[in-house]
Amino acid sequence: MSVSHFRKQSLLFLLTVLLLSLPFGFPQTAKAQEFDRMHYIYDDAHLLTSEEAVELQTLAADLGGQRETSFIILTLNGTDGKDIVQYVEDYYDDNAPGYDQPHGNTAILAIDMQERDIYLAGFKKAEQYLNDGRLDVIREEITPALSDGQYFQAFSQFLNISYEYMGQEPTSDSGGYTDYGSSGGYVGQNSYETGSDAENIFFQWWFQLISSLVVAGFVVTIMANRSGGRVTVNGQTYMDRNKSRVLSKYDNFTHQTVTRQRKPQNNSSSGGGGGITGGGHSHSGSRGKF
């Protein structure tokens, strides 16, 4: 069937329906779990004193409240044989943390003392604001303290920097991170890759809308231009293949130039990045060792 049989109205209707359905995502499969969403510090590896843990809990509750985000810290002694990324994803799926709802805005810092792995993940709003690039920055900032065994300092840094980032639109600071006083370490970190999922222009609905309009306009223009017939001859049509050829040729090497450029500092253990949990929640991430 050709599209010519489509009613114009029905097409317009379809378009409208699609546009209206945009702002709503897929319905969430929220399952309530027995999990205290007001508890943020899970020190299974016993790295903190009880005073430190209380202080961090207070800080996380305070900063998280202002940013409507759960800042969760997990210290682990082994991850049940799972990869740390898998562990954090499952943790989010199973316990459904979140500030005001299950599976809500959550930023998780997980360290595993056995493998000396560190993984940071952002979910929902935190996925957007704490994108892969920003999590890389945070991870690099706190790794030295973790390596030194100054866990309390590292964890409070995590809470503070995450708090700052959660207050800044991720697109507005593409030129580099502002130094917000707690330390000077973020200056010069602006060369990290900005290919994170949440900021990927391809995922923006307005970009998709504009590209589809452009594609449609392009195709229709081609159709209109081709309706009058088109040239179907090319260089091969009239060429006499027996006589047309390269009579002589040379390719002489003359000289060469070599330029060199310092390698961009490769993070000793970067990678990981975001992904999608088994429960279908996408997230940003940054993993490394300490």
């Binding site: 050709s2 599209v3 010519s4 114009k8 097409l11 379809l14 378009l15 699609l18 995502g25 999922d197 990927n200 391809f202 995922f203 609905w205 998709q208 809308l209 590209s211 589809s212 309009l213 594609v215 449609a216 306009g217 195709v219 229709v220 159709m223 209109a224 309706s227 009058g228 017939g229 040239v231 179907t232 001859v233 090319n234 260089g235 049509t237 009239y238 060429m239 006499d240 047309s244 050829r245 390269v246 009579l247 002589s248 040729k249 040379y250 390719d251 002489n252 090497f253 003359t254 000289h255 060469q256 130039t257 070599v258 330029t259 450029q261 310092r262 390698k263 975001g274 999608i276 996408s282």
Partner: protein
């Protein structure tokens, strides 16, 4: 001098029959093989001061013609006549591609083409508003061109590799030279003033294996024109037609480099031969919505060209259809890439 073909059997008018490729009589069905017909127009000379009035050989009525017309119908008795003066001497075509598609076939093919239009209005698609179908032999020059090309260029090959803490970019420069001989044969350029060049270019290609030695009976029953432009006048257009071909051929010989900068390029194109030929074109005059549309159909291959009217409604449907489809597809892709729906 007017040539008119009478059936030796019944005395009726004969005309060229596209299906059989022979001179045929519609009254008694007699077919005459054209290739055996004697042709002496090339050597014939007529006085320079062309007669401006011709009389039909059949009925004696005055033939109304343009100065370009070389073959036409008598408007009085309908007999197909050929004006020999305008096809002799240096106006004598050397070859002709006879019509392969008869008027009926052309009409059906055109109506079929109308139905295929994706953007044409519904009323147009019926193909029932054909005002006239005119079988016309259009004068063309077929050029054989030889081009000698010499190109000097600088090519670079870039290689990057890593050593220690550094990334090295190594650029090698090459002095590149190509000496190319290119022969393009039978480039058609229409020599009629009336015909739109762009339209005629789109009608190509013509199957040259159907090229026949010119015989006047091929024109009987059709219209024909003589050329308005000589082969010298049209040579620049022929050269222009192959210039893109030459460029792309040059490019195809300069491969294997990351970048090519052409320093010097000499293209010397010479005309080896130019033949005057008549090529078959059906002209379709079509009436739609009070305006007239002209289409041309290749009389050999049936290819139709010409700008049909465009329906705004259909453009809108296609546009929104494609836009919605693409949008949906992009959404799905981004969903599967993990960007959310």
């Amino acid at each position: 001098m007017i040539l008119h073909y009478k059936c030796p059997g019944c005395g009726s008018d004969m005309s060229f029959d596209a299906e059989s490729g022979a001179l045929s009589c519609q009254s008694c069905g007699r077919h005459e093989n054209i290739e055996n017909y004697p042709e002496e127009l090339k050597s014939l000379r007529f006085s320079e001061d062309e007669a401006n009035e011709y009389h039909c050989e059949n009925c004696g009525a005055v033939l109304i013609t343009d100065t370009e017309t070389a073959a036409t119908h008598c408007s009085f008795c309908g007999a197909g006549v050929v004006i020999a003066d305008r096809l002799s001497g240096n106006l004598a075509p050397s070859k002709v591609i006879p019509f392969m598609i008869s008027k009926e076939q052309a009409t059906t093919a055109f109506q079929k083409w109308c139905r295929k239009g994706l953007l044409t209005p519904k009323g147009f698609m019926n193909g029932d508003r054909i005002k006239s179908m005119t079988g016309l032999y259009v004068p063309f020059w077929l050029y054989d061109l030889n081009s000698k090309v010499q190109v000097n260029a600088t090519g670079t090959k870039v290689r990057t590799y890593t050593q220690g803490d550094y990334i090295y970019t190594e650029t090698k420069y090459y002095d590149v030279f190509r000496d190319i001989n290119l022969d393009y044969v039978k480039i058609p350029v229409d020599a009629s003033e009336k015909m739109n060049d762009g339209l005629m270019d789109k009608l190509e290609p013509y199957p040259y294996d159907q090229l026949k030695d010119f015989k006047t009976p091929y024109l009987a029953g059709y219209l024909a024109e003589k050329y308005n432009y000589s082969h010298e006048e049209l040579l620049p257009r022929a050269k222009d037609k192959i210039s893109d071909y030459i460029e792309s051929y040059i490019q195809s010989t300069l491969t294997g480099y990351h970048s090519i900068r052409i320093r010097d390029k000499q293209i010397d194109t010479k005309n080896q031969k130019s033949d005057y030929v008549l090529l078959p074109v059906w002209l379709v005059s079509y009436d739609y919505n009070h305006s007239n549309y002209i289409f041309a159909m290749n009389g050999q291959t049936g290819k139709v060209v010409g700008k049909p009217p465009i329906s705004k409604g259909k453009v809108a449907s296609w546009f929104s259809g494609i836009a919605v489809g693409t949008f949906f597809a992009l959404k799905c892709v981004s969903y599967f890439m993990g960007g959310g729906f």
